[in-house]
């Protein structure tokens, strides 16, 4: 049995001592005695404080002290101890596309997953799965759709899983199997990491890297002088195995079939009526955020902006300007940014960078791995975390404290009954 808040038990013992003292002091009513001159005694409480020579009402005293101690024990939050020294592990397995070799990552996770441990899969989101599911996961790299694993949701899910498995364990080890690429940590990650009471076993796996040079995006347009053409010419050659097709008209069935192929990116970017262009701004957020301010036309997205896809670019009021929807093994992008047919907008560096974001591989560009030397804050010091504090989070599920409180209330009820019977 481990007490998560032993101070509460100490306070309870002190309170029981106070109860004992009060019992010896206040329950001692001075013996009545005839004194004709009692009127000259100063008026005060007739139940004067006096020390009892011998304690009386021992049953009431015992009930009160026991009730106080039980309440204190309940607030001390007892949790049952593990049968013996037992270390359980929570494995956070990155299943994003940033992994170069998911099989190796899963093998590393399987190696570190202990009996009774928990498995959390994460990419941009995290979810706990049964530890046995690790064995049935295939070798397909597309287990996760996110470009990279986000550490914050993974750590939160790991903390919840640790609180669940901590009861009955001696300590809990947190293992992260991930390449930990750029952007994996956000502003909240450091705070969430600091909440973990122990060290983290960080298993770095290789990040996927694009070695081949991707072909230039193909522009399918009816305009001879499409303004996108010079911008595409200015695009640096991207690395990767993906192919991009930009369709300025309504995409047809062949386009959709093509987009389902692995690594294919179909960009539907309709032409705009130059008369409806108005000064506006679009922004692509992320590590290489870019903003373009120009006379632009807001074109309705084919999905109406309600399809739960990934938003690549937003208008200045936050409404989606370009979205990505997975399609088979590839993806389809819908761009609602109407470009002016004249002017040098498409030649500006900002627009070229915006265009580069729109022709990235599905799920975004694969980020590079962070140097291992900069991840000391994530590893921390120590190894496994003591299980008892972790189990505090699961205390609400613990029935022992509730039983202790119920017993204390029952004792107080009995004390009241005994007192009422004696005073009757």
């Amino acid at each position: 049995m481990t007490l998560l808040a032993p101070l509460a038990l100490g306070i309870g013992i002190a309170a029981a001592a106070v109860v004992l003292g009060l019992h010896l002091l206040t329950t001692r009513r001075p013996p009545p005695a005839v004194l004709p001159t009692a009127r000259f005694v100063p008026v005060s409480e007739a139940r004067a404080v006096a020390r009892a020579q011998r304690p009386t009402d021992l049953l009431l005293l015992a009930l009160r002290m026991l009730a106080v101690l039980l309440i204190a024990a309940a607030f001390a939050r007892p949790v049952p101890d593990a049968p013996g020294p037992q270390v359980r592990s929570v494995v956070l397995l990155d299943v994003s596309r940033s992994l170069a070799d998911p099989v190796t990552a899963r093998a590393a996770a399987r190696e570190r997953l202990t009996v009774g441990g928990a498995l959390v899969l994460f990419d941009t989101a995290a979810r706990e799965v049964a530890a046995e599911s690790l064995a049935v996961l295939g070798d397909d790299a597309s287990t996760g759709r996110g470009a990279q694993g986000a550490l914050s949701p993974a750590l939160l899910a790991g903390r919840r899983a640790a609180a669940r498995i901590a009861r009955g364990a001696d300590s809990v080890r947190l293992v992260i199997v991930s390449p930990v690429t750029e952007g994996a940590a956000d502003a909240a990650t450091a705070g969430i990491r600091a909440a973990w009471p122990g060290g983290i076993d960080l298993v770095r796996v290789d990040a996927a890297a694009d070695t081949a040079t991707a072909p230039a995006p193909r522009l399918v347009t009816a305009l001879a002088d499409d303004p996108l053409a010079p911008a595409l010419a200015l695009l640096p050659r991207a690395r990767g195995a993906h192919a991009v097709r930009i369709v300025r008209d309504q995409p047809g069935a062949p386009d959709s079939v093509w987009a389902r192929e692995p690594g294919h990116v179909l960009v539907h970017w309709p032409l705009a009526d130059p008369m409806v262009a108005a000064p506006d701004a679009v922004r692509a957020s992320g590590t290489d955020a870019v903003t373009v301010v120009a006379p632009l036309a807001r074109l309705p997205l084919a999905s109406g902006g309600r399809v739960p896809g990934r938003v690549l670019v937003r208008w200045r009021d936050g409404s989606p300007a370009a979205t990505e929807l997975p399609l088979g093994a590839g993806c389809a992008r819908d761009v609602g940014i109407g470009l002016p047919l004249a002017g040098d907008l498409t030649l500006r560096p900002a627009f070229v960078r915006l265009l580069a974001r729109l022709v990235e591989p599905c799920g975004g560009r694969r980020p590079a791995a962070i140097p291992d030397s900069t991840l000391g804050w994530l590893r921390g010091e120590g190894s496994a975390a003591w299980a008892a504090p972790l189990a505090a989070a699961a205390f609400a599920d613990s029935s022992l404290g509730a039983w202790l409180l119920a017993a204390a209330l029952a004792l107080l009820l009995v004390e009241w009954l005994v007192r009422a019977r004696r005073s009757a």
Binding site: P32, L35, P36, A38, S44, A48
Partner: protein
């Protein structure tokens, strides 16, 4: 005479006299100087004869020598009726068990009655009890002191009863024996009126040693005449109690003496014969000297 427990006291006060503190009204011949002049053998003064005087009181020899008619006057002596008003309220039955205050009150009443009766004064008594006044009418006969003793012995103090109405009907010498814890103000006013009418007023304030020095153990002090009055007498309140009790007794003495009442504070552990001698002493009326 059935003297019972008072034998030693009566022996001790035998021969003690209790002279009146002022001239008594005329009446039956007695041991106290009266306001009137009589024909006693002792010569006091001459007074010119006035029409209506008894010619037998003329000093014929003086008339023969001076040819002036004078009446020969002599001091007259009369008896002084004495009434004891004894408080038999519950507060007099203290300390519990020994009833020291009540015992002292009885001894004082019997002892003083014996002294007064020895001067041929009529002696009577009124005992204020919860059941009403118990009276022994003033008599000069031989067994009146024994009657007083029997009456007192038959009474157990209890309840509470006012003393003022009993004082109002007292004779020339009124002796109130009480602990002053009842209707003190009314009783004191009645005694003051009695004194103003020419009577002697005595107030014997009976105080128990246990009231002056309560036991060290804490207790819930309960007034026997007022059950609602129960207050803890513990270490913290003991000093304040003693101070307030002493101040009250001083105020009682001061008020009584201011009204011309002879006040004596008697303690239940004092020797009753000594107290009797001190009470009947004419001098040393006021102040602490008068206290036992």
């Amino acid at each position: 005479m059935a003297v019972g427990p008072y034998g030693a006291l009566l022996d001790a006060v035998r021969g003690v006299r209790w002279p009146a503190r002022r001239l008594v009204p005329g009446g039956s011949p007695g041991a106290h100087q009266a306001r009137s002049r009589g024909v006693a053998p002792e010569f006091a003064e001459y007074r010119p004869y006035r029409q209506g005087d008894d010619p037998r009181r003329l000093d014929w020899k003086l008339l023969a020598r001076s040819d002036k008619a004078f009446i020969r006057l002599a001091p007259d002596h009369a008896v002084l009726g004495t009434t004891f008003v004894v408080d038999a309220s519950a507060s007099m039955a203290f300390p519990v068990g020994s009833d020291g205050k009540w015992a002292m009150a009885k001894h004082l009443a019997v002892g003083l009655a014996a002294v007064a009766h020895a001067s041929a004064d009529p002696v009577g008594m009124v005992v204020a009890t919860a059941g009403g006044a118990r009276r022994v009418e003033p008599r000069t006969r031989a067994g009146v002191v024994a009657d007083l003793a029997r009456t007192l012995d038959a009474i157990t103090p209890s309840g509470s009863a006012p003393l003022a109405p009993l004082v109002a009907g007292a004779r020339n010498r009124c002796v109130v024996i009480t602990d002053c814890l009842g209707d003190f103000d009314a009783m004191r006013a009645a005694l003051a009126r009695h004194h103003a009418r020419g009577g002697e007023a005595h107030l014997l304030h009976v105080v128990a040693r246990a009231e002056l020095e309560p036991g060290a153990a804490g207790m819930l002090a309960v007034d026997p005449e007022d059950a609602a009055c129960e207050r803890p007498l513990v270490e913290e309140t003991r000093a304040a109690y003693a101070e307030r009790f002493a101040a009250w007794r001083a105020e009682v003495a001061r008020a009584a003496l201011a009204d011309g009442i002879r006040y004596v504070e008697v303690h239940d552990d004092a020797a009753s014969d000594v107290l009797v001698r001190r009470i009947v002493r004419v001098a040393g009326v006021a102040g602490d000297e008068a206290r036992a």
